[in-house]
Symmetry: C2
Subunit: 205 residues, 2 copies
């Protein structure tokens, strides 16, 4: 199989960390680099694999393609269930779904919006609205604060177990540096959690 | 159990349709109305149930709360597996995950953004940026066109079976009328699909 991806984009990193946490042998996966800045993801070749023009994409050996990071992760969860990263039982699966979405919509999405609308990296292909970038950056910062409180009382994002929600949060928070948003010294809960998850071996994947 | 919800908001509707498709007896569920316009969802009582201040929320009999529409739907999928609305086998579950996300991020989210930033309904609680509203409306309209082509060749959003992705798309498309976005007469694929799903009994839930 092939994973179409990019080394510096946050969403492909989610899949690479997920694979590492699963202990999946990636030597059987061909990592195909896609140049986002050059717009390779918007070309006909790439759109044949994902019409939305977004990374990452997993191409199976039969030629079928899976887009969306979380759908790709779910593919690996289905085929390599251990360790479970979407929850080990019904209650955990529901909690992971809730928490992964909270982190996606209230943290990752605002960070990505801030990046696109403050940095204007993709001004060749989309409207760039700095005011929206500022509002998004402020929303992400509020979520940093809120997660700080949450993680003062919770080992991981979704409770007692490491899950895909931690991977989503780690990739969003690390990427937030591009819009000068950092955890800093005043958020001990978030800092404790980040020190822990960023030092797992998977974080280097 | 209790479902904190609102009759005119699109996300609670997703859960009501999901329950109807499952054939779950809702007489055992107390539907608690939450007045979004009055900001009831931002008060301390509601935030104790969902700190994000968003609807819907499912409160179980032990007092624990599940937020995020898709997490609530997954709770019911876990406890009432038939008919499966997240996919019947591994391949379908991955496809439904991909398609539900495509519809959420490329259709539902832009429609909600257009509503908030063009109508300014929540100007008392968030920045309103009409330029972002316009860009979001245009993005949603492009997705209407793209889905029209997709649904010319596919019975349902995620393939041969009705799924949560159809529910997400139906609720987003019906809600899009608030920003004057309609399927119209020039999108036969989307129209065929909408005629079908909007006439299922569940759509009235």
């Amino acid at each position: 199989m092939k994973l179409y991806q990019n080394e510096s984009a946050p969403n492909p990193r989610r899949v690479r960390i997920f694979l590492a946490e699963k202990g999946i042998d990636t030597s059987a996966i061909e990592f195909v680099p896609v140049d986002i800045l050059a717009g390779e993801n918007l070309g006909a070749d790439f759109r044949a694999r994902n019409p939305m023009g977004l990374l990452p994409v997993l191409e199976l050996d039969d030629g079928s393609c899976i887009a969306e990071s979380v759908a790709i992760c779910r593919y690996f969860e289905e085929h390599h269930p251990q360790p479970p990263l979407f929850g080990a039982d019904a209650a955990q699966r529901v909690a992971v779904e809730m928490w992964n979405r909270r982190v996606e919509f209230n943290l990752a999405l605002p960070v990505f919006m801030a990046f696109r609308h403050l940095r204007g990296q993709f001004a060749d292909r989309e409207p760039v609205i700095p005011e929206w970038g500022e509002a998004s950056r402020a929303a992400a910062e509020r979520m940093f604060d809120w997660l700080d409180g949450h993680l003062a009382a919770s080992e991981y994002i979704a409770g007692e177990h490491f899950s895909i929600a931690d991977i989503t949060a780690l990739c969003a928070i690390d990427f937030a540096r591009v819009v000068k948003l950092r955890i800093g010294d005043q958020r001990p809960g978030l800092q404790r959690w980040h020190d822990h998850v960023a030092h797992r071996r998977s974080a280097a994947a």
